[in-house]
């Protein structure tokens, strides 16, 4: 079923290299660039196929951009294509981050460095907190289901429960809720 040969592995590598290297701000910021590169420029995928792959990559766990690279790479050039797309996507980011990490080791005693980061730290907390409210809207939060995020928050922040257990509980809870609704719907 794979359309092997639709793209050369080095073309996949190069496309995802550009996508990974030139987007700052995480995986979702890459979507417009991916669409332009994969659908419009290279014409490897139809817009519909692209939207399908996008939906699945968002639903699965893990790094969204890497999931995209895996799907697109496999589709166009099998396993080798997937590996080429993934490495292309994350190579430059890893090198740049490692550059920063090693430099910071030497700079951390510098008073100016510390001064800059003293200003940045509260900003980072705000940048994590602000999207929470938009996400709440997207998640269709209401008075009836608002207890779910509140309980998750209390479990993790106040009671120190591992975030992974909370995610697992959400999956099980969602499954049971779905089954329950299905059964009710079947009877009436």
């Amino acid at each position: 079923m794979y359309f092997c040969g639709m793209a050369k592995w080095y073309e996949l590598f190069w496309s995802f290299f550009k996508i990974g290297t030139f987007t700052i701000g995480g995986g979702y910021a890459m979507i417009p660039l991916m669409e332009k590169e994969l659908v419009d420029r290279r014409q490897w995928l139809s817009r519909e196929e692209f939207m399908d792959i996008l939906a699945v990559s968002q639903a699965l766990p893990g790094v969204f951009a890497v999931n995209m690279a895996t799907s697109v790479g496999t589709r166009l050039h099998g396993g080798k294509g997937a590996v080429a797309a993934i490495i292309g996507n994350i190579l430059m980011p890893i090198i740049i981050i490692l550059g920063f990490a090693t430099c910071f080791r030497f700079l951390s005693d510098n008073p100016w460095f510390e001064a800059v980061f003293k200003g940045i730290r509260p900003a980072v907390v705000a940048l994590i907190a602000a999207p929470v409210f938009n996400m709440a809207k997207t998640a269709k939060i209401s008075w009836r289901n608002g207890w779910i995020p509140v309980v998750a928050l209390i479990l993790i922040y106040l009671l120190g429960v591992s975030a992974m257990w909370v995610v697992l509980a959400a999956i099980v809870g969602g499954f049971c809720y779905g089954k329950l609704k299905q059964r009710k719907g079947g009877q009436s």
């Binding site: 910071f104 800059v116 730290r121 929470v132 938009n134 995020p149 992974m164 995610v167 809720y177 779905g178």
Partner: protein, 199 residues
């Protein structure tokens, strides 16, 4: 053995990180700062700042930086730190990669399945709480200062927090610009101001 623990920690993070980069940051913080204690809250905040202003997926950037820092903090060399960085990044993508190969066809076929839709619905709500908890866990004396010991820093931190929050939430200002601006503010308040007052 730090490498083995690093590998399994990030393997777990990869399995449970639904819902994008911020959710993954929350999980990494929970595992690396709260549970394993490899990084302090302050170090982790610096990692997040850096991964927001450099290119690439935030999840990969954070995994790379944490892998490096955790190994070097444990007393190993820089070279082994780089190995730790690659290991963490590899571990975090491994299981999602296998899942993508195995179940993407199945998911696509059943994307309107009510059970899957309900799981995603509850997950999205839970992730809101998860990320809110991560933001709260980042507010420590390390990152904000305290009103008692360093009142000036605490007040400045609260002002920066509020300004960035409003700019990001209301005006959708780019995070890169906000981080650069707050860095400049930090240099001004904590670097230049003491010099000027000292003169």
């Amino acid at each position: 053995m730090i490498f083995l623990r690093l590998f399994f920690s990030f393997l777990r993070i990869g399995i449970f990180s639904f819902g994008g980069g911020l959710a993954m940051i929350a999980l990494i913080q929970n595992e690396v700062v709260v549970k394993q204690g490899w990084l302090t809250a302050q170090e982790f905040t610096d990692v997040v700042a850096t991964s927001q202003i450099t290119p690439g997926p935030v999840g990969i950037n954070t995994a790379t930086y944490v892998g490096y820092t955790a190994v070097v903090n444990a007393g190993y060399s820089q070279g082994l730190g780089i190995a730790g960085a690659f290991l963490a990044s590899f571990a975090v993508i491994l299981i999602p990669l296998i899942l993508t190969l195995l179940v993407s066809r199945f998911l696509l076929k059943h994307k309107d399945n009510p059970i899957i839709a309900n799981i995603m619905y509850v997950l999205r709500l839970t992730i809101v709480g998860l990320i809110a908890a991560a933001a709260l866990l980042m507010v420590t004396p390390d990152t904000f200062g305290t009103l008692k010991d360093v009142p000036m820093q605490f007040i400045a931190s609260v002002v920066i927090f509020l300004a960035v929050f409003v700019a990001s939430f209301k005006f959708k200002t780019s995070p890169i610009l906000l981080i650069l601006l707050s860095g400049a503010t930090g240099a001004l308040i904590y670097g230049l101001l003491p010099l000027a007052v000292g003169c």
